[in-house]
């Protein structure tokens, strides 16, 4: 098959697109230009940076995993179930997208805190306290990031042709088998894209985390918290930490893009 030549980009699209790139990239360029490269070594050598970075990566990945386990089924329900009240459910699910994360953190306290509706019971019956633990970091990040996954996956499910599920049913597959063997593989690119969004959002999470999980190096101080606190005292250190976070996330996204997000190539 011959490829047709790429047509040029129309000017009314090109100009705003270039502005958008400038708008998004220039602040990053600012960080890079302003970075105290000489201090980079000593700043990074401190144990706090590695600790915060490791915690960030672990907790964002855990939050993504939790979002996948809970969010994909939720997306299925939103996309496929015919139950009434689905639109209300969808609106509720997207609330964390618009809620200021700090408020989200307080809301988590009201449920899972020591005095919270569920947390009180956990504390008294099981002697489990969630706030100020790494678990709390994962929960706060999941709360804020899962809607991104749910929305992406629901969109992918809606775009997928439901008649494939009919075809699977005529081939003897019950709904669960159909979900596992047909639906899930078919929307895999959408799930991967949603997971990446979710992970990126979790990695940058600040407000809900610092409120619900607090800030303690090694347990709950993720990179964004470290950046914020560094900014209080030493802006250069904050820039260095930001660059580390930036480099790690860009590297991870590029890697994932190559491995997961590219469309599966046709078999030879």
């Amino acid at each position: 098959m011959r490829r047709t030549r790429e047509p040029g980009v129309p000017v009314p699209l090109l100009v705003p697109a270039v502005l958008a790139v400038a708008f998004l990239v220039l602040p990053l360029a600012g960080l890079v230009l302003r970075a105290p490269w000489g201090e980079l070594g000593p700043q990074l050598a401190g144990p706090a940076v590695g600790q915060a970075l490791r915690l960030s990566l672990v907790s964002a990945s855990a939050a993504t995993a939790l979002s996948l386990v809970l969010g994909v089924p939720l997306a299925w329900v939103l996309a496929r179930s015919r139950a009434r009240g689905r639109s209300v459910l969808r609106a509720l699910v997207t609330v964390p997208l618009v809620l200021p994360p700090v408020v989200g953190g307080v809301a988590l306290f009201l449920v899972l805190g020591r005095q919270g509706i569920v947390g009180r019971w956990l504390d008294q019956a099981l002697d489990v306290t969630i706030p100020f633990t790494t678990t709390a970091v994962v929960i706060a990040e999941t709360f804020v990031a899962m809607p991104f996954l749910v929305i992406s996956v629901e969109g992918a499910l809606r775009a997928a042709d439901a008649r494939f599920e009919d075809a699977a049913a005529t081939l003897g597959a019950d709904r669960w088998t159909t979900f596992r063997r047909v639906t899930l593989p078919m929307v895999a690119p959408g799930i991967a894209a949603g997971a990446v969004l979710c992970w990126a959002r979790a990695l940058g999470e600040f407000g809900a985390t610092i409120t619900f999980a607090g800030n303690f190096p090694g347990t709950t101080q993720t990179m964004p918290l470290a950046v914020y606190l560094a900014l209080q005292q030493d802006p250069d250190a904050a820039i260095v930490l930001s660059l580390v976070l930036l480099a790690v996330s860009v590297a991870t996204l590029l890697l994932l893009r190559d491995r997961w997000l590219s469309r599966p190539g046709a078999a030879a």
Binding site: D161, R163, F164, D166, A167, A168, A169, T170, L171, G172, A173, D174, T177, T178, R181, V182, P185, M186, A188, P264, A266, A267
Partner: protein, 350 residues
């Protein structure tokens, strides 16, 4: 394993109410315009849509019985279904697509694959098993879809417009193959189509559905010779004659020869549309290559034309205007001459 279905489904303003029986080995074509309720019927038979009332039974098994509260879900019905645009799972190889139904019903992986490969050979695409469906042509994909539907030895085969997504040339060959496979299939088949040629070529019996109801039922030739409604007349007024092609001539199985425009060879169908047939009181002058003496058997007016059923060496159906019918002084038993241009004759491999 014959199918009996007597179901009613309320679809908004329209009610689909159909009563069907299909014997073992029989192919029933459900013919009708878009929106007539054909697909609804198939979804009910497949178990994808519960009927509002009625029963569906295949052999001794009751699949739906609204009064008794029985509804066997699709995945528990022993059926195979072929969809218009094949719906092969894009993430599985062709072999795994065909093996899918066997796997869900508990067969081991290698046994399922072996059976799948066997069926791919039977539909003539053995060498394509490792491909993804995206890399098959339309005809190949529809063959794979047929293999996927038949591999599980279903009691009921449902075909939903199986040829309409194919281009004209591919359609001819796939139709001929489908006819062969349907001939070997021991269960009941329901074929939904809006193309009368599919119905004529593939079905033992035809039911014509309009607005959710059967308007006519019978063998394909019955229906085309005695259309009960205008729609049926326009739709199925087609004489379909089996014969053997050699060059630009087809020798009909029932005797007689038909000149055609394109070269053919082997077993074929000759199809003549009734509006292509001209009637003459005497042998026409000039040199039309297809001229046959005939005798009028029956005449059925519909709209401004009259459908004339002709008997003779070549049995044909002709549509003539009411005026011409009167001028020819036609009455049952009247001898006439019928002519058809070679270029108006369609030929299908069978």
């Amino acid at each position: 394993m014959s199918l009996t279905a007597d179901v009613r489904v309320d679809r908004g303003p329209m009610t689909v109410e159909l009563d069907l029986e299909v014997a073992d080995g029989e192919v029933l074509a459900v013919l009708g315009p878009n929106g007539a309720g054909k697909s609804t019927l198939l979804r009910v038979l497949a178990g994808l849509l519960p009927p509002d009332s009625g029963r569906v039974a295949v052999g001794p098994e009751t699949w739906d019985d609204v009064l008794a509260g029985v509804h066997v879900p699709a995945h528990e019905r022993r059926l195979g279904m072929v969809f218009q645009d094949h719906l092969l799972f894009p993430h599985l190889s062709v072999t795994d697509n065909v093996a899918f139904g066997l796997r869900t019903r508990g067969l081991g992986k290698s046994a399922a694959r072996a059976a799948a490969r066997d069926w791919l050979a039977r539909v003539g695409i053995a060498e394509l098993g490792d491909r993804r469906p995206g890399r098959l042509s339309g005809g190949q994909a529809q063959r794979a879809a047929l293999a996927r539907a038949l591999v599980g030895e279903p009691a009921l085969l449902l075909l939903d417009e199986p040829l309409s997504a194919l281009d004209a040339r591919t359609r001819l060959t796939v139709r001929a193959e489908l006819r062969r496979h349907l001939g070997e299939f021991p269960g009941s088949t329901v074929l939904v189509t809006h193309d009368p040629v599919d119905a004529m070529a593939l079905a033992d019996r035809v039911v014509v559905v309009e607005e959710g109801r059967v308007v006519q039922a019978g063998t394909p030739s019955d229906v085309s010779r005695h259309p009960r409604t205008d729609y049926v007349a326009r739709l199925v007024g087609l004489a379909l004659l089996p014969g053997t092609g050699a060059g630009t001539t087809v020798r009909l199985d029932g005797g007689g020869r038909v000149a055609v425009a394109e070269e053919t060879a082997g077993p074929v169908f000759v199809a003549v549309r009734p509006e292509s047939v001209a009637l003459w009181p005497a042998r026409p002058e000039g040199s039309p290559r297809n001229v046959w003496p005939a005798r009028l058997v029956s005449a059925t007016p519909h709209g401004s034309t009259v459908r004339c059923e002709l008997d003779g060496e070549v049995p044909l159906v002709a549509d003539v205007t009411a005026t011409a019918f009167a001028e020819l002084g036609l009455a049952p038993g009247t001898p006439v001459w019928a002519s058809v241009k070679a270029s108006d004759v369609a030929v299908y491999a069978r």
